[in-house]
Subunit: 108 residues, 4 copies
């Protein structure tokens, strides 16, 4: 296993965690109505990151396509989270950007 | 495959759909803040229903334990949805109750 | 919900079931060594079908991309299953082809 | 987040990886027929580990029950892998045992 693989897997798992932490925290925010897109995209992103981690580790013949999709979802979720000032959103935005980049390097 | 198996699988798939429809609709409600527990439990319940459908159909050695867990999550999600007057919540509560019952009959 | 949506969701769920039934049956075949690709692709295909069903029903903003991927995986799994004479493989090949087509009609 | 949480999450993710690596490797073994139970349980175990990681990180109200189930599946998968001499099986057995223990400490 090469270094891109390891970085990508780690980035997916960290992004999964950051998205789920953000999902949970958004559901407790006072301004929850403003967080609707964030809640939706956190779930989308955590789920595709989990799917990508499973695909990579089982040597899926569709790893490349799954990582392309994962990068697109991470990008969108990161853009949404970057609009909000909550710490969990900022941390999630960072993890999403890092994961999108790692997915793209892995499939380059 | 016996009739309990077919009923249980169908109930899990219908519950997955009802929970996800409710999740999506809750995120668009005006009173979204009141729906926080519903949103959380809709995701929990859709995910365990998908997991249960996968387990049943692949003849998992852990089907019984997974269906027990599925019944417990459906019960809780159904109780939460039953508190709200939105049509998507009412439909979800009904699908959850039906699924909890089908899981219990399957493992009886 | 329109008729393409309903057909596609139903096809994904039937394909999930056929793939998992085939996975389980392949693991019990005498000529199991010949079924290695089938076993691998059955898991790939069941997992993306479950993922697609979740995405469609929660109104995912990535439904189109996920269904494109689902169609590609179904196509490949169906091609592999079509090489084998076991009844579970034939049934799986049919469900895969039907699902690939339904995904493509849904996103057309 | 406490130290038991971090250990358990890490153990689940490492077990997911070890199980999927073992699944992929088993499908390439000459004595693949002997690995049927291992292949089946590797999938079971990777899937429940992914499910547990998702549940823990989104603060699921069902974390305890999911980790109990995860521990049981890890135990069984680890016992099966321990019967085989392949390096991927030995590594998987170790990851499974460690994950079962971490799940139990987390919910103690």
């Amino acid at each position: 296993m090469n270094s891109n693989y390891e970085k990508c897997l780690e980035a997916c798992l960290e992004c999964l965690e950051a998205c789920n932490v953000c999902f949970d925290a958004c559901l407790k925010e006072e301004d929850m109505k403003m967080m609707a897109d964030c809640i939706r995209l956190d779930r989308e992103c955590a789920d595709i990151c989990a799917f990508a981690a499973q695909a990579m580790t089982r040597n899926s013949p569709f790893t490349k396509q799954i990582l392309e999709l994962c990068a697109a979802v991470c990008e969108r979720c990161g853009d949404e989270c970057a609009k909000h000032n909550h710490n969990h959103c900022k941390r999630c935005a960072e993890a999403c950007k890092k994961c999108a980049e790692a997915c793209r390097q892995m499939i380059a």
